[in-house]
């Protein structure tokens, strides 16, 4: 969702917004100054109203010509002036000692934010940006050397600057509380359209509390997501790999790899990804540094991610009252082994359970209303058992 656009989210947005608005009105004036006379003259001198003798070859009119040269010229200078001053606002970094400096790395296809070390020397790294309200924040941006150009674009703040490998570029903002979208505005390949993130502007106190902790996100944003999931997302793995289904984003889906592969395999793939390229893919995965504990977290996340949602749905609908997952029949047949059933059958079994009763069981299962998405999650869960 494109959030917070209409709030004049930042100081820069106010300046640039003014320049844009001024430009809009003057442009309308200029537009009418051309199109208005054109329509009028086309009507006034339409062919059936003009006798040939009335045609006059007017070819010069000094005063008019001077007018239509100077007035637009003055307007152009006005445009230039406001374009320039709003650029100065956007491009003059506030003093470093009054600002929070956050390092941004844009890489295919995720944004990573690195915060200054807190009192304990702990460095936060996040995929979404968290910053306190009404405080200057400077972004020091770059991209890995072997990556490509991206552009850090926050429409709500009217701010944008390319992230160029090999260069450092900077931009800054000072914004009101809210949540704002980050988009990548420089074409960078396959998942350019998905190189999205968010800026969360939170009260100073919340920010301070968070930055001095070691939590991966401020309290208000804690989703209960496991550490592994956070690592997976903040390192941008989710930009290329899906874990909840077997679709191929950029790299292979990781769903189910925990079944056959060990954590060591994952470690190799993360630390030295191009050593052993999976079939049909190119060597594009960036190497990432990660501690062994973190890799273990990621591993367990991958192992459970695919079915976590399905499991949750099954639990919240009370299915486990009648079914088991270990193969022993209870009031109903065990979920284990249902993976072989086809999706349509499962759907029917949930929405209209009494249409077709499995052999040896009585028609006691209540019909449950569930969206197609939910059913799909459940199906996936069943298949994975």
């Amino acid at each position: 969702m494109l959030e917070g656009f209409n709030t004049s989210g930042s100081i820069i947005a106010e300046h640039i917004g003014f320049a844009l608005e001024m430009n809009l009105w003057l442009s309308i004036v200029l537009f009418l100054s051309v199109v208005g006379p054109m329509l009028y003259l086309a009507w006034k001198y339409r062919a059936d109203k003009v006798k040939d003798e009335d045609i006059e070859n007017v070819t010069h009119h000094l005063l008019l010509e001077i007018t239509w040269t100077t007035i637009p010229t003055i307007m152009m200078f006005t445009f230039f002036y406001y374009g320039y001053t709003s650029m100065v606002t956007a491009r003059t970094m506030p003093p470093a000692n009054e600002s929070i400096i956050i390092a941004v790395e844009g890489k295919k296809w995720s944004w990573n934010h690195t915060y200054p070390a807190n009192a304990n020397g702990f460095v936060h790294k996040t995929a979404e940006l968290y910053a306190p309200a009404n405080k200057n924040v400077i972004l020091e941006m770059t991209a890995p050397l072997n990556d490509v150009i991206h552009s850090y674009f926050v429409p709500a703040f009217r701010m944008k600057e390319d992230v160029v490998p090999g260069r450092i570029t900077k931009q800054w903002f000072n914004a009101n509380e809210g949540t704002y979208d980050i988009e990548c505005a420089e074409y960078c390949g396959t998942s350019h359209a998905y190189m999205l993130s968010k800026i969360n502007i939170i009260p100073q106190a919340d920010y301070d509390a968070w930055i001095s902790s070691q939590d991966s996100k401020p309290a208000a944003f804690a989703t209960g997501a496991s550490k592994g999931q956070e690592l997976f997302e903040s390192n941008g793995c989710n930009g290329c790999h899906s874990v909840t289904d077997d679709s191929i984003l950029i790299g292979p889906s990781l769903m189910g790899i925990a079944k056959g592969k060990t954590a060591q395999y994952l470690k190799d793939a993360i630390i030295n990804p191009n050593k052993d390229i999976a079939d049909g893919f190119s060597a594009m995965m960036p190497a990432t540094k990660m501690s062994d504990e973190d890799i273990a977290e990621v591993y367990s996340y991958i192992a459970t991610a695919a079915v976590a949602k399905g499991a949750a749905i099954i639990e919240s609908n009370g299915c486990m009252g009648c079914h088991t997952t270990d193969g022993t029949p209870s009031a109903g047949p065990s979920f284990k082994g249902m993976g072989t059933l086809d999706a349509g059958y499962i759907k029917d079994a949930i929405l209209a359970p009494n249409k077709d009763i499995a052999e040896g069981f009585s028609p006691i299962m209540p019909a449950t209303t569930m969206s197609d998405d939910e059913i799909a999650e459940v199906t996936k869960y069943l298949k994975a058992l």
Binding site: V50, G83, Y84, E186, T190
Partner: protein
């Protein structure tokens, strides 16, 4: 009736005297025939490009991936951009009308180097073929052919273009060859205009279309080599990894952008200036009076071309270029708008006290005043650095350039197609049909692109195959617009084709025009144009009470008024 240049045998050839009509066309050096062949080829590529555009619009009709995935979409807009820009719109008007009517307008028998003109045409075809082969990746070792066009966007920004696995090098080579063809066309026209004007015709007696072509030719000549060398350096980089543009080796990708836009910005004026020339022909003819401010229009073409070289950096406002350079470029950019504005006011003033005849060429011209004003004024918006920080690489800039190109260049190309259709084919097209086609196109373009200004202003980045759901409504209106405009197009071309085949024969000067191309002894004109070269002691648009003032005896080309 005497023979026209379209009749069999009525041509000079580059090599020998072929007997078959086919070879007479393939080897022809006649500027009019070459122009027609350019048009035919472009038309074909054009429809491929329109088709890819339609595919994109359908994909964007709803958020999420409909039937194109990210990679295919990326190749689609690259293909669309490359075909439209390098194969169609840059050579477009100069190659078609510059060839067909420019020599006629100055009373010349042909261009200065007719054989070179022939060679250039085939170089262009060769470039097109190379561009097409770059669609495929030949994987020799595994014996597969993959459909794999470059996916860099038409801008080929490094380092992406150096890293991607697709066939960028071939595309670059194609762009280089097409650039060569463009240079040679420009060179040929420059010499033609300097040397072959009919006696008496000074620079300020030339029709304004010739001025447009002249200004354009300078851009073709002096800007194109820069992109040529950029592409060569990129190819060197790709094969030898010197690091000129590759940051992992110490190079600076922003330098690539400088070099690319040093050419590609002047290139946009290269597209629009001959189009403005067409406008300057149509306005006086369909107002049946002399043009207002001839000199200012002529000189503004020259100054647009000149200033156009100096403003390329407005494409780099958010690229990491230094703020000083941004300021300079922004300042200079506004100076292009002023001569353009002068032109616009001159055209409007031309209607004053005239007799406005709303035939379809005039309709297209007036429609263009509206659409190009939108395209141009939004260009001014993004020339303000502050605004551009927000709008760069959003749909706002996409809408800007489609309004400028489609609503400026292409619309005026169509105006020219209608205007010179009788000259080229000797037939009249079906006027009511042409009008319907115009209205479809005019409504279509506004539906297609106006919503995109709003979407871009709200933050819809370009080159996205999927987008946030807020933008859905704009993309949907736009999708409908695309269908409307394309149906208008089909109608228009159907009209042209059927009229050429079975239309009414056209009189010699169906529009009562004053410029020399209409004063040939037959319609369409014969080989080697006018029977005799006229002596030019008159202005290009002399009307008297709505009738051309200068009259010729078409056999001797002596003035008889």
């Amino acid at each position: 009736m005497s023979k026209s240049y379209l009749d069999a045998g009525e041509t000079h050839c580059a090599i020998g005297h072929p007997k078959t009509v086919f070879w007479q066309w393939m080897l022809t050096v006649d500027h009019k025939r070459i122009g027609i062949m350019y048009a035919a080829v472009m038309f074909v590529f054009f429809f491929i490009a329109v088709f890819t555009a339609l595919a994109m619009r359908i994909e964007l009709f709803a958020p999420g991936s409909q039937f194109l995935d990210g990679d295919t979409f990326n190749q689609a807009f690259t293909l669309h951009g490359v075909l439209m820009i390098f194969l169609f719109i840059i050579p477009g008007i100069p190659a078609i009308f510059g060839n067909i009517v420019m020599p006629l307008m100055i009373g010349a028998k042909d261009v200065s180097f007719p054989r070179l003109n022939w060679f250039t045409f085939w170089l262009y075809i060769f470039g097109c073929l190379v561009a097409l082969t770059s669609l495929f990746n030949f994987n020799i070792t595994e014996g597969e052919i993959l459909f794999n066009f470059a996916d860099t966007g038409w801008t080929f920004y490094a380092p992406y273009s150096l890293n991607t696995g697709t066939n960028v090098v071939t595309t670059l080579v194609a762009a280089f060859i097409l650039g060569m063809a463009s240079i040679l066309t420009g060179l040929n026209f420059l010499v033609t205009i300097h040397r072959l004007r009919a006696p008496g015709m000074g620079f300020f007696q030339m029709p304004l279309f010739v001025w447009g072509i002249y200004a354009t030719a300078w851009i073709q000549l002096l800007a194109t080599p820069v992109v040529g060398i950029t592409l060569i350096l990129a190819v060197m980089e790709k094969y030898f990894g010197i690091g000129i543009f590759d940051p992992s080796k110490g190079g600076d990708p922003v330098l690539f952008q400088h070099l690319f836009w040093i050419y590609s910005h002047p290139a946009v004026y290269l597209m629009i200036l001959p189009a403005f020339g067409i406008m300057s022909e149509i306005m006086p003819v369909f107002s049946r009076r002399e043009i207002f401010g001839y000199r200012t229009i002529a000189l503004s073409s020259a100054s647009i071309a000149g200033i156009g070289y100096l403003v390329w950096g407005h494409h780099l406002f958010t690229s990491g270029m230094s703020d000083v350079a941004k300021t300079i470029f922004s300042f200079l950019t506004f100076f292009v708008a002023i001569p353009t504005g002068i032109k616009f006011y001159d055209w409007i003033a031309t209607m004053y006290k005239g007799k406005i005849i709303l035939d379809s060429p005039m309709l297209w011209a007036l429609g263009t005043i509206i659409t190009f004003a939108i395209g141009g004024l939004t260009g001014v918006t993004i020339a303000m650095v502050g605004s551009d920080i927000h709008l760069q690489d959003t749909y706002y800039s996409v809408a800007h350039f489609h309004y400028a190109i489609l609503g400026g260049v292409v619309f005026l190309l169509f105006a020219g197609l209608h205007y010179w259709f009788p000259l080229v084919t000797g037939k009249l097209y079906n006027e009511p049909k042409a009008k319907v086609a115009f209205y479809l196109n005019f409504v279509g373009i506004n539906l297609l692109w106006f919503p995109m200004f709003i979407a871009g202003y709200l933050g819809m980045p370009r080159r996205y195959f999927d987008y946030l759901p807020e933008f859905e409504i704009y993309h949907q209106i736009s999708g409908i617009g695309a269908v409307v405009i394309i149906s208008g197009l089909l109608l228009m071309f159907q009209n042209f084709l059927s009229s050429w085949k079975s239309g009414e024969a056209s009189p010699l000067n169906p529009w009562n025009a004053t410029t020399l191309e209409w004063y040939t002894p037959s319609s369409p004109p014969p080989l080697e144009n006018h029977t005799k070269v006229p002596y030019v002691d008159f202005g290009p648009y002399e009307y008297h009470y709505g009738q051309p003032k200068v009259k010729f005896d078409l056999q001797t080309m002596k003035r008889i008024d």
